[in-house]
């Protein structure tokens, strides 16, 4: 299978303008890998939530995008990483409606619902990396939980 040029990237997340670039990149990459319109929209929305968390809660960071392949299926893997304070209580952070700021508290749990695979690596003081993967067709394996 051809690797899709223009999918792999590392984008900075330092301002709300960078969030626009992240959304644009994910949209383009997902379209290029053959994602349908609804799946593109879900992945871009999840990326927007996670990138904003990187910016607002993590104090800035980056997104790495990678083309992954499983069998004959194309996937897009996005890792949002920061060196911020970390998340002390993951279960609480994933609970709908929990926010430590003035948000709706829907971003993290909502993003998890919008993607096929979702993982958080975070420890107090050691930053946060949220990695999500979606596949251009139905996921080849059941949804993975954190």
């Amino acid at each position: 299978m051809e690797t899709a040029a223009g999918v792999e990237a590392c984008l900075p997340i330092r301002s709300d303008m960078d969030l626009v670039w992240v959304r644009q990149h994910v949209r383009q990459a997902a379209a290029q890998l053959g994602f349908g319109l609804v799946d593109q929209t879900k992945l871009v929305t999840a990326a927007s939530e996670l990138a904003r968390n990187t910016l607002v809660h993590g104090g800035g960071g980056r997104m790495e995008a990678a083309h992954v392949v499983r069998g004959r299926v194309n996937g897009l893997r996005l890792a949002f990483a920061d060196d911020g304070p970390g998340i002390p209580d993951l279960d609480r952070a994933l609970t709908d409606g929990y926010t430590s700021g003035d948000g709706l508290g829907m971003g993290l749990g909502g993003a998890r619902r919008l993607v096929h695979e979702f993982a958080i690596d975070s420890a107090p003081g050691a930053g946060t990396t949220v990695t999500v993967t979606s596949w251009a067709v139905r996921p080849p394996h059941p949804r993975e939980v954190v």
Binding site: L19, W21, L37, V38, T41, S48, L104, G107
Partner: protein, 141 residues
């Protein structure tokens, strides 16, 4: 960073007055501070024009995340305090599906399929004056 397409439209969002309805057309990808600016602009425009309704056209919007969702809900809440009703129009099906899965329900926001329907809902007949944007409400400056 080389993107083979022009940068997204993220700047100032114009607020148009049509009779006693304000029409706001969101296009492309708004950055967060533009969305916050819009919230403030609409509040001021409602007061200045004594508008009875606000129609937000989402036809050109590709995603609504929790941030934009909250901005829309706050616009509607503020408009209601100023006795104006807000209707969002033309939301794309993929956007609506995604919002439900994200968990964003936006209580208090009325929706309409088209801008025309929305104008009718809030404007009580002003939809027909769309071609005459200069029309003034009696008593407005």
């Amino acid at each position: 960073m080389t993107h083979g397409f022009p940068p997204p439209a993220t700047g100032h969002v114009p607020v148009l007055r049509l009779g006693d309805v304000l029409l706001v057309t969101l296009q492309g990808d708004l950055h967060d501070s533009a969305a916050e600016q819009l919230q403030q602009d609409i509040g001021e425009a409602i007061t200045r024009n004594r508008a009875a309704g606000v129609v937000i056209d989402l036809t050109g919007v590709e995603i609504v995340d929790s941030f934009l969702g909250r901005v829309l809900a706050e616009i509607a809440a503020k408009a209601r305090l100023l006795a104006a009703e807000t209707v969002v129009a033309g939301m794309r099906p993929a956007v609506a599906i995604t919002m439900v899965e994200l968990g964003l329900y936006l209580p208090g926001l009325r929706t309409a399929l088209s801008t025309e329907d929305a104008m009718r809902l809030v404007g009580g007949g002003y939809a027909d004056t769309v071609a005459r944007p200069g029309g003034r409400r009696p008593g407005s400056p």
